[in-house]
C-alpha cells in the first residue's frame, strides 16, 4: 500500500536509540558484497533491529549509502511492510482479503476500531495495541481471520472481540502484578 505516512523530515522523532543498534545496522551494511540494489534488504534489516524505520534511521542509511534521504524515504513510504512509527506492544491484524471480506471482516474491523478508539495503523494511548488491516494471510478456510502477534484466531465473530482483547489485557495486568510495588 502506498498510503503516505506522517513523518516530519525536519524534526527529530524524539526517540534516541542506543548506539549498539546503529552499530549492528552498520555492520550489516558493511558485510554486504555490494550495496548496489540492496536498499530494500537493508531497510528490512533496519526494521528488524529498531522495530520501525524512524527519520533518523532513514538518514543514517542514506548517509551510509551515499544517496539522498529522499530516495530512502521514497522507498520506505512506497512499501506497506515498512513503518515509520513505533508499534504498540501487541499488533492486531484483521485480514481484509476478499475471502474474509465476504465473510464479514468489515464488521470485525469496525468493532475493533470502536472498542480501541483508533483507526488502522494507529496505536492505542496506553501503547498496548496497534491495529493493522492486512491483505490475506492465507488462512481463508478460517475466514474471517484475526491475527494478534502471530497467533491466529479463526472464524471470528463480533462477540468474540472482547475475549480476544482481554487475553492480552489480562496478560498485561498479571505482568504488572508481578513487579514489586517499589519498582512501579
Amino acid at each position: 500500500m502506498t498510503k503516505p505516512q506522517e513523518i516530519d523530515v525536519m524534526k527529530p522523532d524524539g526517540r534516541e536509540f542506543p548506539k549498539e543498534m546503529y552499530d549492528e545496522l552498520e555492520a550489516f551494511i558493511e558485510s554486504l558484497e555490494t550495496t548496489k540494489g540492496a536498499l530494500i534488504e537493508i531497510l528490512h534489516k533496519a526494521q528488524g533491529i529498531f522495530g520501525y524505520i524512524s527519520r533518523d534511521v532513514q538518514l543514517f542509511v542514506a548517509r551510509k549509502l551515499g544517496i539522498p534521504g529522499a530516495e530512502v524515504y521514497g522507498v520506505v513510504s512506497f512499501y506497506s511492510y515498512f513503518t515509520t512509527k513505533p508499534s504498540g506492544k501487541h499488533t492486531i491484524s484483521v485480514c481484509m482479503g476478499t475471502a474474509c471480506f465476504v465473510r464479514g471482516a468489515g464488521k470485525i474491523v469496525e468493532s475493533f476500531k470502536e472498542k480501541l478508539g483508533i483507526e488502522a495503523n494507529e496505536t492505542t494511548e496506553d501503547g498496548l495495541f496497534t491495529m493493522k488491516d492486512v491483505r490475506c494471510i492465507g488462512a481463508c478456510g478460517l475466514a474471517p481471520v484475526v491475527m494478534v502477534d502471530g497467533k491466529i484466531y479463526g472464524r471470528v465473530k463480533v462477540e468474540d472481540i472482547d475475549d480476544i482483547l482481554n487475553v492480552y489485557r489480562k496478560k498485561e495486568e498479571q505482568y504488572a502484578d508481578k513487579i514489586p510495588s517499589g519498582a512501579k
Binding site: 502506498t2 548496489k36 475471502a99
Partner: protein, 575 residues
C-alpha cells in the same frame, strides 16, 4: 553428497524410494507406516504443529518410532477441513484433527488397526463417512500436476523430492538436450504464464535466449499480492525444489547463470522452506558450478518484497529487485530485452515453474493433451468466500465453473443461493449463473469480461451486495496504485470516491454515467496492467447487477423485485 551424473541421481532415487512407495500405494517390501500431517499455513494456524508434536511424543512412549514416521508435508488443499492427517499405506484421510486426537490415531488406528470414525470426512450430501482421498467429491475432479508433491513429500528433505523423480528433468535437460530442444519442448507443451497474463512461456524463453548478451537473469515471481490467492505460497511451502529445478532448466535454456526468487516478506514459512531447499540443492551439487558434470553453472538468490501489489508486474518487480520503488516501466523494452540492471531477464511465476519439470519428464504431448485448444494443462485455483469447501484445487483447463463450485466446492453454505463468482482478483470481474457452464480457459474468461488472473475465485451468495464488492476492490487498487501514471493514481481514487457516494445513497444517475466514462478512461490510458484492469470489477458488476447500482441512486423510482426501472429524470439531469 555431491551428485555428478544422472546415474548417481538414479542411485539415490532407488535408495530413497521406499518411504515414497508406501505413500503412492505401490508394491513395496516396507511394512512401516507414514503419518502425513499438513504443514501448510492454513493448517498450522489451526495447530497442526501441536498435532505433530503429540503424535511424536506418543509414538515415542509406545516405542513405535522405528516403524511409524510422522512427516510434515505441504498443503493438501482442503483447507476448510484442516488440519489434515493422512495415514499411509492405509490411505485413510482424517480431517479437522486436533492435538488431542493424536492419542486415538495411534492407539486405535496404528496399534489396533481400527479407523477413528469421528475424524473421517462426512459427505455432506450422503452423510456417509468417506475413508480415502479418492472417494471425496472435493478431490474426484481434481488433477494435481503443479501441486503433485504437495501433501506427498516432506518439503524440507531433498531426498524425498529425489525419490519422486526430482532433478531428473534437470539432469536430462543438461546432459541429453540442447538449449533449443528444451525451449521447443516448453513451446510444444502450450504452457502459458500462470501469473495472470497467460503469455506463452516457451516463447518468453525463446526471446530471452536469442538476446546476444553475456549476462542474463531468470527471476521467479513469488510476489503473490492478490488477496485471497495462495497457490504460489502453497507450492513454495510444499514443493520448493520443483521451483528451483525449473529455474535451473529455464536458466540453461535462456543462457543465464543467476536466478532470483522475488518473494513476499509476509510469507515467512515459504521463505524458510525455500532457504532450506536452496541450501540442500547446493550441498548436493544441484546448484553451483558444473551441475551434473556439465559446464553449466547456476545459483539462486532470494530478494524480499515489502508489500506492494504492483510488484507482481514484471517491470515493477525488477525495479524492486534493484532496491527501488516498485513502479512499472513503459514497455518496450521488455524485460526479455532489457531487464534486471539492463540485462535480458526472464520473469516467470511460481506455478508456471512448477509445471516445467513434469513437462520435461512426461513430454510436451502429455501436457498438451490436457486442457482446451489454446490453454493447455491444469490450473490451480484458490476457492474461497461463501462456499462449503474452501481450499486449493487444481483442475484441467476447460472444466466448467459449475463443476468447480458445486462438485468440488460443495456449493453454497446454509442453503443460500449462488449469486456470482469473482475471478481474477482486483483485475477481474464477476460471472453469474447464466455463464457457469462456460469452459474455463484464458480466452473464455476474457470473453466474459473477467480474467484468469492468478487463479483466485471468490464465491458470493444472495446476501452480498455487488456495489460493495466493487467498492472493496477499488479501495484495494486505489491503495495499491503506485502513483507513476495519472490515470492510475487519480483515476482509481476518483472511482472509489464515486462508488462511496453511491453506497452512501447520495448519488444520482449522472454519477453512474460518470463512473462508466471514467472507468473506460482508466482502462484505456493507464500505464500498466494493474490499473488498466482496475475498473473491471466496476464495469463487470454494472453489466450484470445494474439494478443494485440503481437501488442506491436517489432519483430513480426503482420498483423492487421487478427488475425494471423508470428514471424520474433524464440521465445527466439532477433532481
Amino acid at each position: 553428497m555431491q551428485i555428478r551424473s544422472l546415474a548417481e541421481l538414479n542411485k539415490l532415487k532407488q535408495e530413497a524410494s521406499g518411504q515414497i512407495m508406501i505413500r503412492q500405494h505401490r508394491e513395496t517390501t516396507e511394512t512401516n507406516k507414514n503419518i502425513l500431517v499438513c504443514g501448510g499455513t492454513g493448517c498450522l494456524a489451526s495447530d497442526s504443529d501441536k498435532v505433530v508434536k503429540n503424535l511424536e511424543t506418543i509414538l515415542k512412549a509406545r516405542g513405535l518410532t522405528e516403524q511409524v514416521k510422522v512427516i510434515r508435508t505441504g498443503c493438501f488443499g482442503f483447507c476448510e477441513q484442516g488440519p489434515i492427517v493422512k495415514i499411509e499405506p492405509d490411505n485413510v484421510f482424517y480431517v479437522r484433527v486436533g492435538p488431542k486426537d493424536a492419542k486415538d490415531i495411534i492407539d486405535e488406528h496404528i496399534v489396533k488397526g481400527n479407523r477413528v470414525q469421528r475424524l473421517l470426512y462426512e459427505d455432506p450430501q450422503t452423510k456417509e463417512k468417506v475413508h480415502t482421498q479418492e472417494e471425496m467429491a472435493f478431490y474426484k475432479k481434481q488433477l494435481r500436476v503443479a501441486l503433485r508433491n504437495c501433501g506427498l513429500i516432506n518439503p524440507e528433505d531433498i531426498y524425498e523430492y529425489i525419490a519422486v523423480g526430482g532433478y531428473e528433468a534437470l539432469g536430462k535437460a543438461l546432459t541429453q538436450m540442447s538449449r533449443n530442444e528444451v525451449i521447443d519442448t516448453v513451446k510444444k507443451s502450450g504452457l502459458r504464464g500462470r501469473g495472470g497474463g497467460g503469455f506463452p512461456t516457451g516463447l518468453k524463453w525463446e526471446i530471452t535466449s536469442k538476446q546476444q548478451e553475456e549476462e542474463k537473469f531468470i527471476i521467479c515471481n513469488a510476489d503473490e499480492g492478490d488477496p485471497g490467492a495462495f497457490m504460489d505460497r502453497s507450492i513454495l511451502e510444499g514443493d520448493p525444489h520443483s521451483v528451483i529445478e525449473a529455474m535451473a532448466i529455464g536458466a540453461y535454456a535462456i543462457g543465464a547463470d543467476k536466478g532470483i526468487v522475488y518473494i513476499r516478506a509476509e510469507y515467512p514459512l515459504a521463505i524458510s522452506r525455500l532457504t532450506t531447499a536452496l541450501q540442500q540443492a547446493r550441498e548436493s551439487g544441484l546448484l553451483g558450478q558444473g551441475i551434473f558434470g556439465t559446464s553449466f553453472n547456476f545459483d539462486v538468490k532470494l530478494k524480499y518484497g515489502a508489500g506492494a501489489f504492483v510488484c507482481g508486474e514484471e517491470t515493477a518487480l525488477i525495479n524492486s529487485c534493484e532496491g527501488k520503488r516498485g513502479e512499472p516501466n513503459y514497455k518496450p523494452p521488455y524485460p526479455a530485452e532489457e531487464g534486471y540492471w539492463g540485462h535480458p531477464t526472464c520473469v516467470n511465476n511460481v506455478e508456471t515453474f512448477a509445471n516445467i519439470p513434469v513437462i520435461m519428464i512426461r513430454g510436451a504431448e502429455w501436457f498438451a493433451s490436457m486442457g482446451t485448444e489454446k490453454s493447455k494443462g491444469t490450473k490451480v485455483f484458490a476457492l474461497a468466500g461463501k462456499i462449503n469447501n474452501v481450499g486449493l484445487v487444481e483442475v484441467p483447463m476447460g472444466i466448467t465453473l459449475r463443476e468447480i463450485i458445486f462438485d468440488i466446492g460443495g456449493g453454497i453454505p446454509h442453503g443460500k443461493k449462488f449469486k456470482a463468482v469473482q475471478t481474477g482478483g482486483p483485475s477481474g470481474g464477476v460471472i453469474t449463473e447464466e455463464n457457469l457452464d462456460t469452459p474455463i480457459d484464458y480466452d473464455g474468461l476474457l470473453a466474459l469480461g473477467t480474467m484468469m488472473g492468478s487463479g483466485r475465485m471468490i464465491v458470493m451468495d444472495e446476501d452480498d451486495n455487488m456495489v460493495n464488492i466493487a467498492k472493496f476492490y477499488l479501495e484495494f487498487t486505489m491503495d495499491e496504485a503506485c502513483g507513476r501514471c495519472g490515470p492510475g493514481r487519480i483515476g482509481t481514487k476518483r472511482l472509489f470516491e464515486m462508488l462511496s457516494k453511491i453506497t452512501s445513497g447520495k448519488a444520482t444517475m449522472a454519477d453512474l454515467d460518470a463512473i462508466k466514462q471514467l472507468a473506460y478512461m482508466v482502462k484505456d490510458s493507464s500505464l500498466c496492467g494493474l490499473c488498466q484492469t482496475a475498473p473491471n470489477p466496476v464495469l463487470s458488476t454494472m453489466k450484470h447487477f445494474w439494478n443494485e447500482y440503481l437501488d442506491f441512486v436517489k432519483d430513480v423510482d426503482h420498483p423492487q423485485g421487478e427488475g425494471k426501472f423508470v428514471p424520474k429524470n433524464k440521465i445527466g439531469m439532477k433532481s
